[in-house]
Amino acid sequence: MGLLLDVNSTYTHIVTTVFSSTIAMKVWFATAVIVLVVVQVSTATRMWGRFEGVIRLPTPVVQSIHRWSGRLAFLCTLPVFFHCVFILGFQTPNARVAVHSIAGSFVYGVFAAKILILRGKGYPSWVLPVVGGTVAVLLVTLWFSSAYWYFTSVRFGF
């Protein structure tokens, strides 16, 4: 029990050296993820032959941006995942939190499936955009049910 309290306390102490609270940390990391999701969707769309007039970069550059923005987005989700899953847990006190908890339960599962599909061959061409789009929709849902609520209902700040 003492170890668990130490982990929680140490985590809170580290986070609050930068942010006003652990929740503030979460909403800003979530917001960074959403910005990167926009990059992900834009570059993915460009790689599938759309937005060529908007994103006038060579395809290898777009692919590189897509990969690295995805990796960065995944890293940004980790501290949020730790706080949500290990400290707060699955909760359903109201509709907002229930939607957040349910969407959050699926996001890593869909993401893992997307990576497997990405590295595999022989899947129908529509599978990857659908699964990738599902990840994006889940992350947007998570952002609206947490960070957007925080910025509009609590405060906009660090």
Partner: protein, 116 residues
């Protein structure tokens, strides 16, 4: 296992693991034992942290370690006393700084700090 089923199996495995971990949430802030039998209604600890950061952190510290106001972490303050202080104020702390649902929520959060 078929090629098409692998992503589905992985999706199910990761999702179930996430739900199990979220249900266990092993680093949940400790339950305030002092609340048992006190008659004080405890609210949502999650919202309580937000209320605390907005109203209390400036004096008691963002992590409850103290500042202008006394430290709260590890003090083992009974929840009835926490409510008494919030309702009545103390020193420069005005009475009824928070009330209603916000008070119940922040009592839950402060109780978790003092129980550490």
């Amino acid at each position: 296992m078929g090629k098409a089923t692998k992503p589905v199996v992985l999706f199910v495995a990761v999702t179930v693991t996430t739900v199990v971990l979220a249900t266990l949430h092993v680093f949940k802030p400790s339950a305030p034992r002092a609340a048992i039998g006190s008659g004080v209604k405890l609210g949502d600890i999650y919202r309580g942290e937000t209320v605390y950061s907005q109203n209390c952190a400036v004096c008691h510290g963002a992590d409850g370690g103290g500042g202008v106001g006394p430290a709260l972490v590890g003090r083992g303050i009974p929840v009835a006393k926490i409510k008494f202080r919030i309702d009545g104020g103390s020193g420069v702390m005005p009475p009824q700084l928070v009330s209603g649902q916000a008070e119940e929520d922040v009592i839950a959060y402060v109780a978790s700090l003092t129980a550490k």
